[in-house]
């Protein structure tokens, strides 16, 4: 049991997909304009990651090696389509905001990376734990990045404005701010949290 907990904790810190593995940079930079957007993107990826990890670990023994990547992609795409339809039905506003980045989870390298590096060599339960850990790590990183950009860029926290009628520093809502914040957060993360 403690082994499984450690797997989840690993995904959060030692194998953090954003700050350590540097995977999934495209949604990381593009969707973190606010904390709530980052959180939703993280949760969406978490959903796909856990389910695809479980499915792939279950079918891995029977998948021929030569076609394993197309098979994995089909499995992942199935869950992404599922997620897309669910979001369209129950959270239409968030579906509109994230737009293209939901279907793009199919080619998110975190999902395929965990399938290749972990799920096809481990059991279903372990793969689920790994997906959960990495997914939570991704969600936390995106939320923190979104929070920092929202505070600096729009002067609000989860949509609650705290600077009155003023504008924030617009650069942080745009692409350069994403790169700047990511860089500095990575520095802080590797200095204070990741101790090997």
């Amino acid at each position: 049991m403690s082994n499984k907990l450690k797997m989840i904790a690993d995904g959060l810190v030692r194998n953090n997909p954003t700050f350590v593995l540097l995977l999934g940079m495209c949604p990381t930079l593009a969707t973190t304009t606010s904390a709530i957007n980052g959180l939703s993107m993280g949760l969406a990826t978490l959903f796909v990651l856990v389910l695809s990890n479980m499915a792939i670990s279950a079918i891995a023994p029977v998948v021929p090696d030569k076609v394993h990547i197309p098979v994995y992609i089909v499995v992942i795409a199935t869950f992404v389509t599922l997620l897309q339809l669910l979001m369209q039905a129950y959270t239409p506003a968030m579906y509109e905001t994230l737009g293209l980045f939901i279907p793009l989870i199919v080619v998110n390298c975190i999902v395929l990376g965990r399938a290749e590096a972990f799920a096809n060599k481990h059991g279903v339960l372990e793969s689920a734990c790994d997906g959960l850990g990495v997914g939570i790590g991704f969600t936390c990183s995106l939320t923190v990045l979104g929070l920092v950009r929202e505070i600096l860029g729009s002067g609000s926290v989860f949509g609650y404005n705290f600077i009155g009628g003023h504008d924030g520093m617009l650069a942080f809502v745009m692409a350069p701010g994403a790169f700047l914040c990511l860089g500095y957060l990575m520095v802080l993360f590797n200095k204070y949290l990741k101790k090997d």
Partner: protein, 325 residues
């Protein structure tokens, strides 16, 4: 008996140090600073003070508390960054916006990369562009000069801004430029950031730097030449859509950028031909942004873009090693 020091060559030392070169640049900036204070009054002095003080304090604090290294503020480069940043913003900018600009200039663009000599981009320009993108309201509300003790400022657009707006509403360049005469542009009577205001004071500083052999003139001259040539071609094709060369040389931050920002030691190429290519690139990009871009002024963007390719230029145009044929 004095100790015998064994050291590898070269044994000939020059008196130049970072500090002495930077001091010359500060001296060269004095005419422009005096001009801007005379034109804009005590508020400009406040902008200058806040900018220089926050740049120097930040560099001191970062070296002392974060890097735990000996302080580098003695080389005066932070003072220059502060002056250039102040000359790049309107005098009506609130003090806290300038402090943010200084944090970006010194903290992000300079010290993160390892301090003077390691920064890829000109710190003052990074600060300015960050402010321009972040606070467009403060950074594009220019006020016409009001004199040393003038009370009310009249806000308006810079000549370049006015022309871009005018062109969008369908007026021709001839009608729009007739409002400005070149004497005004040279001696400053127009809205703009402090450093854009007096071309002559900036040129005086540039001549001083060239005479003292602190900077090499070819970067600046190739920028001016390219801007003149590019605008001559476009103006020749269609004078009702494109502004003429003299107007382009004297407006905006071109003189400030070409004389003091593009010639920054750290962020410009080392060799002669590298410098010429660098200058031609800046001039060309500036004119493209002015004519076709969404911003009315493009000098700062052009310099930052060309700063990014300086390592490549240094590789392509290697300096001849001393003593080689």
């Amino acid at each position: 008996m004095s100790k015998l020091i064994v050291s590898p060559s070269p044994h000939i030392h020059s008196k130049d140090s970072t500090r002495s070169l930077m001091r010359d640049v500060v001296i060269a900036l004095i005419p422009a600073v005096i001009c801007s204070v005379v034109f804009y009054g005590w508020q400009e002095l406040l902008v200058l003070g806040v900018s220089v003080a926050s740049c120097v304090l930040l560099e001191w604090a970062i070296t002392k508390y974060m890097l735990k290294q000996p302080s580098t503020i003695g080389d005066l480069s932070a003072v220059i960054t502060g002056i250039l940043l102040a000359l790049n913003v309107p005098y009506t900018t609130p003090w806290w916006v300038i402090v943010i600009g200084a944090v970006v200039a010194i903290g992000v663009a300079k010290m993160t990369f390892g301090g003077l000599g390691q920064n890829i981009w000109n710190p003052a320009l990074v600060g300015r562009v960050f402010l321009l993108v972040s606070f467009p309201t403060y950074m594009t509300t220019w006020s016409a000069p009001k004199g040393l003790f003038g009370a009310d400022a009249v806000t308006g657009a810079t000549p370049l801004g006015a022309i871009q707006e005018g062109l969008m509403s369908g007026a021709s360049v001839e009608e729009l430029t007739s409002a400005y005469n070149y004497r005004d542009l040279l001696f400053a009577n127009l809205g703009g950031s402090a450093g854009e205001v007096c071309a002559l004071a900036l040129l005086a500083g540039f001549v001083y730097l060239c005479c003292r052999k602190v900077i090499k003139p070819w970067i600046t001259l190739s920028i001016f030449a390219t801007v003149a040539l590019t605008s001559l071609i476009f103006w020749g094709i269609d004078p009702s859509r494109f502004t003429d060369p003299v107007f382009n040389l004297l407006t905006g931050g071109l003189v400030l950028g070409a004389c003091f920002m593009a010639t920054d030691y750290v962020t410009s190429p080392m060799s002669l031909w590298g410098g010429v290519v660098f200058g031609v690139g800046i001039g060309f990009l500036t004119m493209m942004i002015r004519y076709f871009g969404s911003y009315p002024e493009g000098v700062s963007f052009a310099i930052l873009l060309m700063n990014s390719v300086v390592p490549l230029l240094n590789m392509w145009f290697k300096q001849k090693k001393f003593g080689r044929k």
